[in-house]
Structure formats: C-alpha cells, structure tokens
Amino acid sequence: MRSTLTTSGIALAVASFIALVGLSRGLEYAWMRSLMDRDTHILAYSASSVELLTGSMDENLSDALLQVDGVGDVAGELVDLISLDYGLAILISGWQPGCYLWQSLQMKEGRLPKLQEKQGAVMGRQLAKNINIRPNDKITIRGQSFVVTGIFEQGSAMSDGMLILSLPAFQRLLGRTGKVTVFNLRLEHPENLENLARVVKILFDRFPEIQFTETRQITKNNRVLKIFRAMAWSTSTIALLMGLFMVLNTLMMSISERTREIGILSAIGWSSSRILTMIVIEGLLMATGGILLGSGLGIGLLKWLAGLPQVQGFIEPQISLNLILEVSAVAIFLGVVGSIYPAWRAVKLNPIDALRYE
C-alpha cells in the first residue's frame, strides 16, 4: 500500500514536470512558429522595455530602418492582449495596411480587409471557432465595432488564436496613435548568415535604443518566457525532490519493518551486496512505476490544459521523447539516491539483532 502511494507520488511529480515544462516549451514553440509563419527574419523592439509587449516605438522609425543596406522590408506592428466583453483574453495585432505581413496569411474563409475598410479585421480559425464568428460578423472591442472579413489558418496555435486589425484602427482603439510595439524586418538575403550578422551589427550601431533579435532566437531572449521557463523548472524540481523524500521515507519505513527479514536473508547466506541491490531495485521499481504512470498522466494533463479555451491560442503542447527521457533520468536518479541510504542502513544491521527484532 505504502509503495503504491509512493509510486503515485512520483507519478504526480513526473506528471507535473511533463505538464509544466511541456506548457512552457509549448508556449515558446507556439510563439516561435507564429513569427516564422510571417517570413520575418528580425524583430526590432524597444531596448528599454522589460517585455516585448510593453514596448513602444515611433511608427516613423520604419523609414529609417528600411534605409539600412540588406533590409528588404519593414512592417510596424502594435500588439496587445485585450480582454473581450465576455472575459476571454485574446492577442490582437495591428498591421500597417498593405504591409508584407498580410500576404503571409492563409485565408480559409472570406478575404483580407480592403485598404479602405478601416474597421476591417481578420481572425484566426481557432479563435473564430471559440467565439463562434463567421466572415462578415461583427465583433465589438472596447465599444468599437469591427467587421471580420475573413478567417485564416496558419497552423500554429498562437497565430490561429489572434485577431488582426489595421494598425491605425488599433492605435486609435488603444489611444496610442503613431506608436508600434515591434518592427518586423525582412532581409534581402536571409540565407546568408554572414550578411545577417552584418545587418544586425549595422542595426545595433545605428539604433542603440532598439533591440534587434533574430526571429528564431526571440523565445530564448524573452524575459517573460524565461521567467515562465524558470517557474516550470523550479516547480517541477520541487515536485521531484518531494518524490525523492517519499522514496526515502517509504524505504526507511520498509527497512525498519523488515529488520527481521533482512536478518533472515543474511542468515541464509545473502550477501550485503545482494541485500543492497534488492532494496535499490525496490526504489528503482517505484521510480519506474512512477515514470510510466506519470508520463501518461502528464501527457493527458498537458493535452487537457492546452485544450482549455483560456489557453488555446497561446500554447502548442510539446511532448518530445527528450522531455520524457529527461524526467525519466531524473526520476530514476532520485529512485536510486532515495534507496541508497535505506539500503546502506539495512546492510549495516547486525544479523543477530535483526533476527531477534520483533
């Protein structure tokens, strides 16, 4: 019974590790994919902002950025997390009308807004499904009405959970006229890594107040993601350490209860190493049971969490073999470490005392 409970405890620790780290990686992955979809090579955001979404830059900087040799196109973007009337928080992006970003959208229903449709909007398929919106339906945001002219599907959770408005309309809505959060930069020769490094260096030299990051590096540098990642790791590690103490406690209790049994094994000729191995194997079996049970539970939990409407659009669950192997290695290590001390105690028992133990 106690071993079953310990195995369940380890399983919960493993499951929480898989779910939390999987969520953290899922968030990174979803964000990175949404940026990669756009054919953006470099993101430019205010160097003084703590977090990408809180940055604010002058929209007119786009002309200066475009002057840099090697930069092919620049698209200013205002991004914010907005709560709809019924409480659902969605990511809204404002794009300069006619910029290259619009061309990256894979329209599934309806069409892109025309240049003169100032209150036009397009919506990701997942979001449209969640809030039951069809092309030509209206959506009200902070008292302003927008017409959803089309539904797009990019295949990445974050993109498909977004609403996209024209930049001027979104600036008006937020009261941030002439401001953008980021600039999307498309390079003329992104495949040439030397050229990429050269362009980034020029950009840094010419615009010290702006932070430039390659799109594929953005998730590594983002502070919010770093905090989220650190939280996921620390929570999971605490859970796993609790698992270690559960193994230790269970085996210590077990050894204490089985003192006589260990004495008998010693009396019939079991060597210390055999007794030690037996106890370590017990620890390993508990860890292995915990891994098997916890992996299934963690994967289920992660899928369930990623399917919640509050999370949809922000996370693409990432369950890799590496993640399972990582947590398995940690759990097995803890199983062995947790059983070594009780095993050592067991082999140190005097067989005569152990045989007399009641």
């Binding site: 008998i264 000729g269 210390s272």
Partner: protein
C-alpha cells in the same frame, strides 16, 4: 579431508563491554556426518554457540574454524552460509509475503541462475519434506509443524554439509516435534549431513547422539 567440519578453540563471547559473559573459553569440534546435540537451560549460551559456528556472530576471543580454515571476514562467512551451512530456527523465520516454494528457493538466488531451475529444486525439496502440495501456500496458511518442515527444506536448498538447528521443536506440540526430529534424523542418515541441534528439551535426545551440555557459557 578434515575430520572436523567445524571447530571452536578457546572461544569466548562477551557482551556489554565484557560485563556479560555468554561463552567462556569453550573448545568444541563437530565431525563430518556427526549428529551433535547441545543441551542446556535457557540463557546458557547455546544459541550464541550456534551463531558463532556459522559466522552470524564473532567471538570476543578464540578461533572458529570451518573445514579446517578460519574465515576472517563477513564475506567469507556469508559465502559459507550460502553454500555449506543450513540454519533452522525455533521461530521458523519464513518470509510471510512469499509462498512456501519461494521461501525454499530464497537461498538459491545468486547460485542457481535459472528461475525455472530454482522452482524445480525448491519443489523437489518440498516433496522431500512432504509438502509439495503446499507449494503455493503462504506460511500463515500452514501449521507450526508444516512451517518448520518448510524451514528445513530451505536449509537444504544449497546442499549444505552442516545444518545448525536452534530449538527446532521449541514452538511445536509434541507430535509435530517428534515428526520434525524424525525428518532431521532421516536427512542426517540418508544424506550424511552433519547436524548440530540445540535444545533445552531432554526428550528430543537420542542415546546414540553425542551430547554436549552447556551451562553458564561453559561445557560441562
């Protein structure tokens, strides 16, 4: 071959920093194929003597030899207990979570690598003690006499040359006790295994046994 399977020379065993003297300057030999009965009142040092003979305990003074050699390390004694010495306890000392078959097979771990072979050997041993039909039972489902038979089967698991039996009938009624003694005698005569039997019950002795009486840690 040495005549003595085990030999104790000038052995003393003290506890509690020398304040308690369990055995004092004791010399004793047990020959191959011999049956030795050690009698004496409770607390006279009989069990301590058995424990010293199989290395479960170490003498405070003196020497213990097995087959002419003096094992000096725990490892050497463990090796001997696993291959040459069988032990039968008064309280049976079977593992309650295992079946009788598994209990009998327990000493074979590490020596007989095939699980199938271990099962087969254990079943043969249970058959020899008349309990093959109880192979799947747990010790708690057996009578006292049956449990002791299982313990005897276990002591034979690795074909020992010496069986040490510590009050094997102490927890049994007189009928079961007689049966256990008969079984041990059978094993002794048929397989020529040396047996050292400790008892405080004179009715368990035979007149043809070699008898040693221990009182207050000394042979009298």
């Amino acid at each position: 071959m040495y005549n003595a399977i085990t030999q104790l020379e000038g052995v003393s065993r003290y506890y509690d920093g020398g304040r308690v003297k369990a055995l004092e300057d004791l010399t004793l030999r047990v020959d191959y194929q011999e049956w030795l009965t050690i009698i004496g009142p409770s607390g006279s040092g009989k069990s301590t003597l058995l424990h010293l003979m199989c290395g479960l305990d170490r003498p405070s003074r003196g020497h213990v030899f097995f087959e002419g050699k003096e094992p000096r390390s725990i490892r050497e004694w463990t090796h001997l207990r696993s291959r040459k010495i069988g032990f039968v306890f008064q309280s049976f000392n079977l593992l309650p979570t295992l079946t009788t078959l598994e209990n009998v097979a327990l000493p074979m771990f590490g020596l007989v690598h095939s699980a199938k072979q271990r099962r087969s050997n254990a079943l043969d041993l249970l058959e020899r003690v008349g309990l093959a039909n109880r192979a799947r039972h747990r010790p708690t489902q057996l009578s006292g006499g049956e449990r002791q038979r299982v313990a005897i089967a276990r002591s034979l698991a690795n074909s020992p040359t010496l069986i040490l039996a510590d009050e094997p009938t102490g927890n049994l009624d007189s009928s079961s006790a007689r049966n256990i003694m008969k079984l041990l005698k059978e094993i002794h005569f048929k397989e020529r295994i040396s047996i050292v039997l400790v008892t405080h019950n004179p009715s368990m002795m035979n007149y043809d046994d070699r008898l040693v009486k221990v009182i207050d840690g000394s042979i009298v």
